[in-house]
């Protein structure tokens, strides 16, 4: 374990910033280009995860455990959000027989 930590100094926090920015961007692009509501939902999960990873990385590099506690709370909120969101999707599918988000435009105009 000590060897992992000492060799971690070779990876700068900048690498984690790059990785998480790209991951977040992939999530945003996924929300924009897909029309399937479930895939849009998964892209949102991906964005949450990229933020989690960056929080954990900063927490380790700053020696502050609060960041990892925040990651834990984000996971809790994500679990609750997924339960409610998927129930909504099942309900939408039951009523309209589709989860194409382009048909769900009643609130758009």
């Amino acid at each position: 374990m000590d060897t992992i930590i000492t060799s971690l100094q070779g990876i700068s926090i900048q690498s984690y910033v790059w990785l998480c920015s790209i991951l977040f961007t992939i999530g945003v692009v996924g929300v924009l280009i897909r029309r399937n509501a479930i895939v849009v939902f998964m892209s949102i999960e991906m964005m949450l995860n990229s933020v989690n990873l960056l929080l954990a990385a900063f927490s380790v590099y700053r020696n502050d455990p609060s960041g990892q506690v925040f990651v834990f709370f984000i996971m809790v909120v994500a679990a609750a959000e997924v339960a409610v969101g998927l129930a909504l999707l099942v309900m939408i599918y039951r009523n309209t027989q589709t989860i194409d988000i382009n048909f769900l435009n009643k609130l758009k105009w």
């Binding site: 992939i26 479930i38 020696n63 834990f72 909120v77 309900m91």
Partner: protein
């Protein structure tokens, strides 16, 4: 050196599987690639010595949330390639927008100090220390999450109930 190599391998797996999530046609494949990306993120947590987060990530995300996604995909019988495509022009514009967003992020975070950090206390990610912090400093938010979960259970039941 070894962990740098591991970092790059995990990052490549993570980015590839994330791209496959948004570009694969069938929703079931998207779910499976998302599970792969969650395992890669757990590997990153282990590399950061955040063992508690690694285990919780596997249990909560790869275990519970993705099973919920898989159930929903199979319940709705969505494993068909019936999804109508958005126009190609729209996709190109979306990708350009995403690249601009990435440039903004990286430009904004470029100036953070890159000084060498001391890893003298490298055990902050262990369950013992995180538990102490969680139950000393963050006890009230931790208890409030139980209320959040109760609200989530009731909301899910109310929404999912057939009238």
């Amino acid at each position: 050196m070894f962990s740098t190599l591991l970092f790059y391998i995990l990052s490549v797996i993570l980015l590839f599987s994330s791209l496959m999530v948004i570009f694969s046609r069938k929703p079931v494949n998207s779910v499976l690639f998302l599970i792969v990306s969650f395992f890669a993120i757990s590997g990153h947590y282990i590399l950061l010595n955040a063992q508690f987060l690694a285990v919780v990530n596997i249990i909560v995300y790869a275990g519970a949330i993705m099973v919920l996604f898989l159930f929903t995909v199979m319940l709705l019988n969505l494993n068909k390639e019936t999804e109508p495509r958005k126009p190609a022009m729209f996709k190109v514009i979306s990708v350009i927008t995403g690249c601009l967003l990435a440039i903004t992020f990286i430009g904004a975070l470029k100036g953070i100090d890159n000084t060498p950090h001391n890893f003298s206390d490298n055990s902050i990610g262990l369950i013992k220390n995180l538990g102490k912090v969680l139950f000393k400093d963050y006890l009230i938010p931790f208890e409030l999450t139980s209320v959040l979960f109760l609200a989530s259970i009731v909301g899910t039941l109310m929404i999912g109930k057939k009238e």
